[in-house]
Subunit: 117 residues, 2 copies
């Protein structure tokens, strides 16, 4: 049942939907939602432990993405349901817009969180 608990938080569902466009690293998702890195990391961890995300480490960066077709049926159907039923939420469409801007700035936005910004 940890799938349903993982989907109970709005920020987690929005993060899941943001990953429709492909894999993202933690700092990009953090920038997208404006939460503290530690908070976003926790959310992604919850989704990962529920099986709803896959992760990949490349150097210092950790990338998360939606699971592929090898995932359990419960996971695939839950993901599909979220995408079909919640993708029209205004917050989600706004996220998609903001994500475009985040994807344009690559190395600069990384220090923003650590430095004064």
């Amino acid at each position: 049942m940890n799938i349903t608990k993982a989907l109970a938080d709005e920020n987690r569902v929005r993060a899941l939907l943001a990953l429709r466009q492909g894999e993202l690293c933690v700092c990009q998702i953090t920038e997208l939602f404006g939460l503290a890195p530690s908070t976003m990391s926790k959310h992604l961890s919850v989704l990962y432990q529920a099986g709803l995300l896959e992760s990949r480490k490349n150097g210092r960066w950790v990338y998360y993405k939606l699971p592929g077709s090898e995932a359990p049926l419960a996971v695939r159907e839950a993901t599909r349901w979220v995408q079909r039923s919640l993708a029209d939420d205004p917050k989600v469409t706004e996220d998609a817009e903001r994500l475009k801007k985040v994807l344009k700035m690559d190395p600069a936005e990384l220090c923003k969180k650590q430095c004064g910004a």
Copy 2:
């Protein structure tokens, strides 16, 4: 998103699955889970407000049941997902067993909750 929040609680999911067998009145579901009537009523209310249950009042009794095919797509698919993915949970199968016993005692079990039991 209140569908995902409604499904986040284990007792609510189990109640939803218990209703596969047909409509039940509040006192039957309360008896099935051994929770306080007020608690169970709240849970059913959450499910109802998420659109995951329909309710019918007959005299003093309130019956809840799963929604029919006229329900929104998001609701139907969520219900289908819960049934496909979580029906094998041991707690759910135990609930089904206990429900059989609850369905046999009709008027007697009603006073149990009010009286000393």
